[in-house]
């Protein structure tokens, strides 16, 4: 017996519809004086690798949560594969910031990755062979097999981030929404996460990733959206990261915009 948690979107995505389409979205948190997002319109096509950048408090996390359905978007403003938010749970995976997860919780790595399968298993059912196989594939891919039975708090920060990524792999979603997956990671772990992102994009998956690490953008993303409550710039990473946007984001003056990659601007912004 199948009892899905929510709508499943098994109807094929409406032909020709983009992965995400947002139309003049405004969003204010309840009790907040100022809007968190103002007049956001954007379209993300299938297979794009989009970086969401901008200063702290720019609404990057909010936008990701709205697309994932964690915050209630005004009706009709966001469409995912042509459907309203919440109609496509099978196809959309959300990867929370590492700081939003209770790492002391008594669960093992394998159990957390299995949570990526819950959407396919549904109410009260038990994991089947197919689910176990998917979890094992995700663990192998993220090189977590040896750690699978550890409690998640025993892992390093990079390993923990890989656990959350493995969970989204097990989900087998088409659209992955990742909130700061590169935060506080060493270069080697970042590289392994980029490898997985590249692999997912090659398989036709769509990625929307928030980050404040600007140095990685040109190499690893096809597009950057500069957000500061509204869309400041949107395009190929090198065009988005101009002296103007950087000044707005971090209050640093860059006169030579060719030189920003050499100067390690990502290390200079306050965090």
């Amino acid at each position: 017996m199948d009892l899905n948690y929510g709508k499943t979107c098994d109807i094929p995505a409406i032909a020709g519809e983009p992965a995400v389409a947002i139309d003049h979205l405004n969003f204010t948190y309840p009790d907040a004086a100022n809007p968190a997002l103002h007049d956001i319109s954007l379209t993300v096509e299938k297979g794009e690798k989009v970086a969401l950048v901008g200063p702290n408090g720019a609404g990057k996390s909010t936008l990701i949560k709205l697309i994932a359905g964690l915050e209630p978007a005004p009706p009709g403003k966001i469409r995912v594969y042509g459907n309203p938010v919440g109609d496509c749970h099978h196809k959309v995976a959300y990867v929370p910031q590492r700081g939003d997860v209770d790492w002391r919780f008594p669960v093992s790595v394998r159990q957390v990755v299995m949570m990526g399968r819950y959407v396919h298993i549904g109410w009260f059912n038990r994991a089947g062979l197919e689910d176990r196989a998917a979890v094992q594939r995700a663990l192998d891919m993220m090189e977590l097999t040896d750690l699978a039975d550890r409690q998640i708090g025993e892992l390093s920060g990079g390993q923990q981030q890989r656990v959350m990524l493995a969970r989204s792999l097990a989900h087998e979603a088409d659209l992955l929404l990742m909130d700061e997956p590169l935060n506080n990671l060493d270069v080697r772990t970042q590289e392994s996460i980029f490898d997985v992102m590249d692999h997912l994009a090659d398989a036709g998956r769509t990625l929307i990733v928030s980050t404040h690490d600007l140095g990685v953008l040109p190499m690893h993303f096809t597009r950057a959206i500069f957000l500061d409550k509204e869309i400041v710039a949107d395009g190929p990473p090198k065009e988005v990261l101009t002296a103007r946007t950087l000044l707005r984001a971090y209050g640093v003056h860059i006169h030579d915009h060719e030189g920003i990659w050499d100067n390690g601007i990502a290390a200079q912004h306050p965090h």
């Binding site: 009790d31 994932a68 359905g69 959300y94 025993e154």
Partner: protein, 281 residues
């Protein structure tokens, strides 16, 4: 040795002691199993509040001569829904809503109680009387324990993911607030039975302390539940002996035994107890 054994066994020649022991074990199991979620989700305050708000339900049922169980259950359900309703719009913080409901309904219960003549009834409700468990009570306690175990086993996935990562639950279409209401209903059932053992005032000890103690000793949820149930059952046994031999209040003895276990675990838990950490320094 023979005499020690007889000291341990002798009390259980009495029917009321046997029923007390059975009740203690069954209540311990339901409390520890749900208590694991109470501890992990930070619901200790709401558990305590529900125990207190049950009081007017019990008194009204008593005054009307209906089963205390149903009176308590209705009051618990009203509390769970009321807290959800008050805090839903975000106008009032949830702990504030809990605090208001909890003290108001508890005061109503005390007011109603003050109209009763017998103080004995009051003290049993407030502080528990595990030696007064009847066969009918035991049946209800066993039924609730069974319901809790079935619910926790069948809904394991759902309880786990909504406790660990509510955001992920929402993103897969599983409503954390739905699961939370179900958990509050189970808590209501459990608290109603646990009041028999330790009373309204100390129920939160059975919900929180065994699970918290177990949480210091294991990093796996099922083990946390099993260990917690063992601690709670052991504490019931200790409480029964204490009240049989020392003629002290059974409910308070149970709670003190649980507290002692927690302190011991906090000090000596292998690898992470206070002593262990002090030695590492």
């Amino acid at each position: 040795m023979g005499s020690l054994l007889s000291i341990l066994i002798e009390p259980f020649a009495f029917g009321f002691m046997q029923r007390g022991l059975a009740a203690g074990i069954l209540i311990g199991i339901s409390c520890a199993v749900l208590g694991a979620y109470v501890v992990l989700r930070g619901m200790a305050f709401i558990g305590d509040a529900m125990a207190h708000t049950i009081l007017p339900g019990i008194v009204v049922a008593f005054l009307n001569g209906v089963s205390l169980f149903w009176g308590a259950l209705i009051a618990a359900i009203v509390t769970a829904l009321g807290i959800g309703w008050f805090s839903k719009e975000g106008e009032v913080r949830e702990d504030t809503a809990v605090g208001v409901m909890f003290s108001g309904l508890f005061a109503l219960g005390i007011l109603l109680l003050s109209k009763l003549r017998s103080y004995r009834d009051l003290s049993h409700i407030l502080f528990g009387n595990i030696l007064g468990v009847s066969d009918a009570d035991l049946l209800v306690i066993a039924g609730v324990c069974l319901i809790v175990l079935i619910a926790v086993i069948v809904g394991y996935k759902e309880l786990l993911v909504t406790s660990f990562d509510p955001g992920h639950a929402i993103s897969i279409g599983l409503s954390p607030s739905l699961v939370r209401y179900a958990l509050l209903m189970l808590l209501a059932l459990t608290i109603v039975t646990a009041i028999q053992a330790v009373g309204v005032v100390m129920v939160v000890a059975l919900l929180v302390t065994p699970a918290a103690t177990a949480n210091l000793l294991t990093k796996q949820l099922p083990n946390m539940m099993i260990l917690g149930a063992l601690f709670a059952a052991a504490a019931s046994l200790i409480g029964l002996y204490a009240s049989y031999y020392a003629d002290v209040a059974s409910g308070a003895s149970i709670v003190l035994a649980l507290t002692a276990m927690f302190v011991l675990a906090y000090l000596f838990a292998p690898g992470r107890g206070w002593v262990w950490r002090a030695l590492k320094r």
